[in-house]
Symmetry: C2
Subunit: 155 residues, 2 copies
């Protein structure tokens, strides 16, 4: 039952390379046994570093459903999601994730996200990324505005 | 030199709550001392779980520059980025990240991404997310297509 959807994701990933649209990655979202959204990597063609296949498929599925949550949906990806896409998956909350190639397979083809996992496991002060916290007391003002807002829409 | 940009991000985050557009988060991208892109959280108003402030600002800056890399740019965020946004930051490669509120401040206001960090630190088999790998040998075909493509644009 899962394989045809993963085979479709793999076929889309190959098509994406052959059409020159982007990297060898595709993903799709299935709800009630039907594909409701498909996405492929568009980083180079859209000049968008966030346009990974999973993000594209999640955004498209949410547009279709008019909802920012994907409960009741499964995400199929031609490859194991990177940390950015994992984060997006946790926020979108699909029921399940199924994938084909491993992160190690992607790394062997030149797509290596291991350094991002390593950085996220480090305490911020040990990261290679230059990251600085400033203006701490003022920083709380948006949260104060949120907590006192009567028109907020929690998510 | 950094504070006015962070103050602008904080002001945008407050504005975003007051206008009902989304959560209390904003971010902006600065290049050569000038703001080239701004973004605020649009999760609920755009029905898009990936529409965090940092992702919005990165996508907008890349559109402005016509590039999928933000080298020479700094990212300012009203709050410490979540794992999804951290992933996006690593892919976009700005020179520096500056932020105001901490993840703990966000958690105190109801925005808790600690569970995502915990999940990313777990081996996949120990994660709460249902995630399954299937179809391994077929999964390599997109990478074979990529490696043998003469028209690919590496990123």
């Amino acid at each position: 039952m899962y394989e045809p959807f993963l085979q479709r994701a793999i076929a889309l990933a190959i098509e994406n390379v052959n059409s020159g649209q982007g990297g060898p990655f595709a993903a799709l979202i299935v709800k009630d046994g039907k594909i409701i959204a498909e996405g492929a990597n568009r980083v180079t063609s859209a000049s968008d570093p966030t346009a990974h296949a999973e993000i594209e498929a999640i955004r498209q599925a949410c547009r279709v459903l008019g909802n920012f949550q994907l409960s009741g949906c499964d995400l199929y990806a031609s490859c194991e999601p990177c940390p950015m896409c994992f984060g997006a998956i946790y926020w979108a909350r699909p029921d399940r994730v199924l994938y084909a190639a491993s992160a190690a397979d992607a790394a062997a083809a030149g797509f290596d996200d291991a350094f991002i996992y390593e950085e996220l496991r480090c305490p911020p002060s040990d990261r290679r990324l230059s990251i600085t916290q400033l203006l701490h007391p003022e920083a709380l003002r948006p949260f104060q505005a949120w907590l006192s807002s009567s028109s907020k829409k929690p998510y």
